[in-house]
């Protein structure tokens, strides 16, 4: 009896190694996407954010963004607002962490005050837009659990469809469905499901371009809120990689100097 079980096990073992669970497959794809997007060092870009309400009225914000890749931890990012004029010079510094809460500071130029702020604000709107803080923060592998769903063709491109579930506290989402391009290993579309598990928002990525022969970045992102009818467009311009930024450009003094 015992030997039979052993033989059976020996036969099944290689099989189980090949037949991945959907969770393993999902993680594998996410890990591959993460691997391919490693090594960019530092990045700078300018952004235009266009907010649209249900009636289609638009308002615009100009933002500058810079990021530093940190080995073995989440990225450091610094965002400066150039408009609206009343918040000009307001800057936001974030040290992302994979498992523990992010460190975040806000600089208020009128008071010359640097304020450490709580990173518990994940689901709240970023600058009145349809992007939540958790949507714009760096997407570390450990922040989600993954499950492979299927393959699908989106706008003529083959994608992996993966479900990911936030593992960090205070997320506004029960789950997200991500369509990952099989060639670029970058998302083409994300659906966000709210705490009641109803579809809340859809994010689509457009006009990808490759930088340094390796890193794909979209020129346009469209976030549509299905429950409010509001939407936000993010236009990315002047992507620059490996510009020589150092940790010093992401400290609290740099936040005050961001202008």
């Amino acid at each position: 009896m015992k030997t039979r079980l052993l033989i059976l096990l020996l036969i099944l073992l290689p099989l189980s190694a090949i037949a991945q669970t959907p969770e393993e497959r999902g993680l594998e794809i996410a890990r591959e996407a993460d691997r391919r997007d490693t090594g960019w060092g530092d990045m700078q870009a300018t952004l235009e954010m266009i907010l649209r309400n249900r009636r289609g009225d638009e308002s615009r914000r100009q933002i500058r963004s810079r990021a530093l890749e940190v080995e073995g931890d989440g990225d450091k990012t610094l965002i400066v607002f150039d408009s609206p004029a009343d918040v000009k010079g307001t800057a936001f510094l974030s040290y992302t962490h994979a498992t523990r809460p992010d460190d975040q500071w806000l600089y208020l130029p009128a008071l010359r005050r640097v304020k450490r702020i709580s990173s518990a604000n994940k689901s709240g709107p970023f600058m009145g837009s349809e992007f939540a803080y958790e949507d714009i923060s760096s997407q570390e592998l450990e922040k989600y659990t993954y499950r492979y769903l299927r393959e699908e063709v989106v706008d003529g491109r083959k994608t992996f469809v993966i479900e990911r579930i936030p593992q960090y506290a205070h997320s506004g989402y029960t789950r997200q469905i991500v369509w990952i391009d099989q060639e670029m290993y970058q998302p083409l579309k994300v659906e966000f499901y709210d705490r009641k598990n109803s579809l809340l928002k859809t994010l689509t990525y457009h006009d990808y371009r490759q930088y340094l022969d390796r890193y794909w970045r979209p020129a346009r992102m469209e976030m549509v809120n299905h429950q409010t009818g509001k939407s936000t467009t993010l236009l990315w311009k002047d992507y620059r990689f490996r510009t020589g930024l150092r940790p010093r450009d992401f400290d609290r003094n740099a936040l005050k100097r961001a202008r």
């Binding site: 907010l51 309400n53 308002s59 615009r60 408009s83 609206p84 004029a85 009343d86 918040v87 000009k88 010079g89 809460p101 460190d103 008071l111 010359r112 005050r113 640097v114 304020k115 450490r116 702020i117 709580s118 990173s119 518990a120 604000n121 994940k122 689901s123 709240g124 709107p125 009145g128 939540a132 506290a169 205070h170 506004g172 709210d194 705490r195 010093r248 400290d251 609290r252 003094n253 100097r257 202008r259």
Partner: protein
């Protein structure tokens, strides 16, 4: 005023020279605002004005060199006030050259610096003089001449300050509101130091962020920013003593909680004393998925000098609510009550702001002084309840 004008002339010269340096990155910005204050009661002193219109202009300019190592910053301020001649004033808030090195930063000129973490008052913040005539909440500051070297190291940032030249606090004039029964005569200011307003002050500050803690330790020696007010018949005369002050500011950011503490120990202004402000801000983010943040604030304000303290906040509690709507217009409301625990009175504060379009911002502010005890500091403001609307245009 003439001193400011002189400085503005220097600035104009610098601006004229700037293009020759090579226009790496430079930009003008700023705002023009119109403010209307409506007072609920008639003033205690018939010489004081009633409802009041006021306008201010705040231009800003910066230049940054190609490599970002050198910057030149300018911020000016001019106000024209209907009712109070003292409130019609100009100030050079900033005219600063900044150089950034590998692990140091040097700033030379006139600058503004903020230290601290609490909301109700800023005990530790001592570099800049308060522009009290702007608003008695003490949030507005005058530009301070300084040489500031920052050493940025792994163990934190060490800031060394040499502060040549002292700025006198501004006070409401005879016709101004928010003053006691007697006006302060700023022209007659007296100093403990024989150097008067030329005394050179020094300050040091170490600050660091360690995990969820943001810490600051500071030391200041020189002319105290808070004057004693000497009785002189029909007016008060400010007296600026030489002080030494140690300060600690700490914030622990734990999930949705911000725990805050500021402590100072001051010598040289009467008997040595301690003062502290401590409390928390707890925020409920994105309430019900609406994007609304509800922040609850509570702080305790203490001054060892008690009833003899020249501040009304010797044994007081602040309770407040901050609403941030996180909408397109960045709408915000802050409501707070500071209550004296010994029955001196309470101050009720309401502030709200909202952007209009892309370039305008409307701000509302209202303050009431209630249940004030005769003879207390708050009592001198009992007839100054007001509501204020400010419309600003930003460029």
């Amino acid at each position: 005023m003439s001193r400011s004008t002189g400085r503005l002339a220097v600035l104009a010269l610098l601006l004229a020279l700037a293009p020759a340096v090579g226009a790496a990155r430079s930009e003008w910005s700023g705002n023009i605002s119109l403010e209307y204050r409506a007072f609920v009661q008639s003033p205690l002193d018939p010489r004081q004005h009633g409802d009041n219109l006021s306008g201010a202009f705040e231009p800003r300019w910066f230049y940054e060199s190609d490599d970002g190592r050198d910057s030149l910053l300018f911020e000016g301020f001019v106000r024209e006030d209907q009712g109070d001649a003292q409130r019609s004033h100009a100030d050079l808030r900033e005219l600063l050259w900044e150089r950034v090195g590998e692990d140091w930063e040097l700033r030379v000129g006139i600058g503004k610096v903020f230290w601290g973490v609490t909301e109700s008052q800023h005990l530790v913040d001592i570099i800049n003089q308060t522009d009290l005539v702007e608003n008695f909440d003490r949030e507005d500051k005058l530009g301070q001449p300084m040489v500031n070297l920052s050493l940025v190291r792994d163990w934190g940032t060490l800031d060394l300050f040499v502060l040549p030249g002292f700025r006198e606090r501004t006070f409401p004039g005879i016709a101004g509101r928010f003053r006691g029964p007697l006006p302060v005569s700023t022209g007659e200011a007296r100093y403990e130091s024989a150097d008067g307003d030329r005394h050179v002050d020094y300050a040091l500050r170490w600050s660091s962020a360690i995990g969820e803690w943001d810490l600051g330790l500071s030391w200041f020696r020189g002319t105290g920013r808070d004057p004693d007010l000497l009785f002189a018949g029909d007016r008060l005369i400010p007296f600026y003593p030489q002080i030494e002050q140690l300060g600690l500011d700490a914030q622990a950011t734990l999930d949705s909680w911000l725990w805050k503490l500021e402590v100072i120990h001051r010598r040289g202004q009467g008997a040595a004393y301690w003062a502290a402000t401590g409390g928390f801000e707890y925020t409920l983010y994105d309430v019900g998925g609406t994007g609304l943040d509800v922040g609850l604030l509570a702080e305790y304000l203490y001054d060892e000098r008690g009833g003899n303290a020249p501040t009304p906040f010797d044994d007081d509690v602040l309770a407040g609510v901050r609403l941030a709507f996180n909408d397109e217009q960045s709408s915000e409301i802050l409501f707070g009550v500071i209550q004296d625990l010994n029955g001196d009175g309470e101050v009720i504060n309401l502030e709200a702001s909202r952007r209009l379009g892309e370039r305008f911002k409307l701000e509302l502010e209202a303050r009431w002084f209630r249940d004030t005890r005769a003879g207390s500091l708050v009592d001198s403001l009992r007839a100054d309840d007001y509501m204020q609307a400010t419309l600003g245009w930003y460029f």
